[in-house]
Amino acid sequence: MPSLESLLLPAVLFFALGFIARVIKSDLRFPPDLAKVLSIYLLMAIGLHGGYELAKSDMVIALTSIIWALVLGFVLPIIGYLSLVATRKVNPMDAAAISAHYGSVSAGTFLTAIAYLDNIGVTYESYPMIMLAVMESPAIVVGLLLAAKARRSQSLSNVPSAGAVVPSTPVDNTSESGFGSLLRDAFTNGSVVILIGSMIIGAISTPSGMSKLFPFIDDIFMGVLCLFLFEMGMVAARRIGDFKKVGLVLAAFGIVMPLVGGVAGAFIGHSMLGFSVGGATLVAVLAASASYIAVPPAMRLAVPEANPSYYLTLSLGITFPFNVLIGIPLYHSLVKMMAAA
């Protein structure tokens, strides 16, 4: 059974350990900056690797991958938004903020999938790595557009309270109203800069320069991933504590939406892009995963009306553990079935 094999991967076990540590109320805490350092390392390592491989790859497939990544990034949040609004359990602003997370991606989930495939000896293309970089941001833009639309329809109720503002003071639209600046933020996001920057460096560096880097980006990679997932397990357990606030319908969305994404991604990876089983599994994982690094702060700034508990609990507390523990082997089986068909 693939699921058990996935569970016995050290990276997944450390995720579980972090989760359990919180459940048994251990006083274990990681220093506040450790997760950030680990994720800088992970993005740098995967970017350098990806860039190094991509330099030898087919640019036409690379471009096609980018286009499909954009399609996923734009379409998934819209599906999510419409489903959420249909449930009538959240208001449109919350729906916009939540669904933006599902159009973006989780590098932690992606890396766990890579560890999973490596462990069972399945190879994969390097194109999904560009898709990872490409998919970070577009969903933020879609989220903003959906929120703007929702805000317009609510605007009647907001006018009176805004009227309380003394009109003689200078209007400080420093950046709140600046859609352009939010757009720029989305694409100059720190994770995107590390990932794309490292990919370019991996692609253009001299081979002798790269060879000096490989021990750093290869040998300790799995250990760093384990530490990162250890901490993420603690974070997820803290977030899942808000499960009750979120309610059953929303919680179900946190499992159904990745399944929808996973099927879409598997189809695109396998049928549209013609990737191997490993590569298509990675595309499925990208589509299924929800962002918890880039999108939450963007939504806090751009959609302050939305309740952060909702999107953080869904993305970190439900979808992330689901994907790491169950989703990855599931999407892999699905792609294997597609390939066999």
Partner: protein, 102 residues
Amino acid sequence: MITLYPEKLLSIITISSMEDRLVSMFKKYGVSGFTILRARGEGSSGYEADISGFDSNILVTVIVSEKRMEPILESIERKLKKGYHLTTYISDVQVISPDKFN
């Protein structure tokens, strides 16, 4: 005997991603400086850890003369109405060199 002069100390607790906006607002209203400390905490929007890159609070403090305070408070109130979380409080302080804060 050192002479002391009254000023106001404005403190704001919010999420770290609000930093750039607050700073540009301060500059717009001509404050002489500001200080930022990392914080975590709990309030109406739940618990904020201080995990950098995930969620983290900041405590922003500004020493400012009473006369410059009003437009800053108005700007904060506008932000609160938009839904931003800014736990704000003001206290009276005394300083040695008042020209520094004007």
